[in-house]
Structure formats: C-alpha cells, structure tokens
Symmetry: C2
Subunit: 88 residues, 2 copies
Amino acid sequence: MELEQLRLFLAVAEARSFSGAARELFVSHSTTSRAVSALERELGKPLLLRRGRTVSLNPAGEVLQREARKILDQAEELKQAVKSSVEC
Amino acid sequence: MELEQLRLFLAVAEARSFSGAARELFVSHSTTSRAVSALERELGKPLLLRRGRTVSLNPAGEVLQREARKILDQAEELKQAVKSSVEC
DNA sequence: TAAAAATACTCCATAGGTATTTTAT
DNA sequence: ATAAAATACCTATGGAGTATTTTTA
C-alpha cells in the first residue's frame, strides 16, 4: 500500500468514477482502474461497487476513504513541518 | 513521498546506519541510501548527518522520524480496519 | 448505441542490485 | 586498512499509455 494508490483511490471515490477521476488527475483511466484493483488485491476485499456506470463505496471503501484522507493530510502536514524545520 | 521511503528512512534513523538498516531489511545499502536521498531532495533539506561512520538525525530528521512513525502506524491500522470491515 | 470499466499489449522509467569510488577512522 | 556511504552502471520489473473488449443503461 503506497500513498499514490491512496491518492488515486480517493479521487475515484470522490468522483464516483474511474474515468472522471482519471481526467481530473491527467492520467489514463487504466491507471485509476489498476490502482484500485491493486489495493483491493492487497487488502483482500472489494472497495468499490461497480454497477454499470455507477461506482459506489461499500463498507470497506468507506473506511478506506475516511482513513486514507487522514493519512494523506498528515503526510502533507509532515512535508510542511519538515520544510519549515530549522536548518542544521 | 511514498510509504516505502518512510519505512526505509525510519529503519536507517533507528539503526543509525544505512548499511545496518539495509541488512535488517534484506536490501542492499544502495537502496537505503537512495531512498533517503530522494526524500531529502523532495523535502528540500538534509535529514541525516553523515559524519564518517556516524549517522545522526538533524532537526528535520527528528520531525520526520516522529511523524513518519505515526503515519506508518496509521497505515497499518487502516489495513486491519479494512480487512475486518464487513463484507458486501 | 454510447459511455464507462476492465484488460491485453507494449514500452519506458525507475527501483534495485553489483561493483567501484570516496571518505573517515 | 577497514568499514561505511555515495555513486556509476546495468538489468528487470512494474507503472502507465493505447487500443480493445466487455458491460449496462
């Protein structure tokens, strides 16, 4: 599990669309599709429900969305904290 | 910034050694060296002080060590939470 | 039939190992 | 002289795009 996968998953979860998220991020839709598949494989269960053209979150996806957001926010804060730490 | 880089950085920070951490993780020492270099490049400042055979943390490194630990722990919790979420 | 997701195929970037060089003790 | 870190070099893996197939609304 890598941060980039979480970034892509979140974009898909928020857009409720693989291709929509791909457009927003300027990547191909196969990139969003594979990132989510890889997460599902690693975590051992589906995260999103694909019903025709509709993408929705199942319980595991809801958990991931909530927590992934926190982790990515923290990672961003961390970057800023390091950047503004004293030189040495 | 990716979780794998944080894992490698933490191992180096804790071992106070690039090669020691590499041995623990069963990777080559060039892997630990480059992971830390990449982080330093991305974050815009040195994280570790290399003085001869001694590796120590500077303030930025201290911040990163503390926060990276939290993020990795959270990522681990997240995995467990998803794995134990209800099927759907 | 149109729009989106999955996937096969391909290519290229880069992650990682080995070997070498540099540095400090 | 030795041990560790940096780095040049090379290779293989996997990430990402394109094109195609599948699905369903």
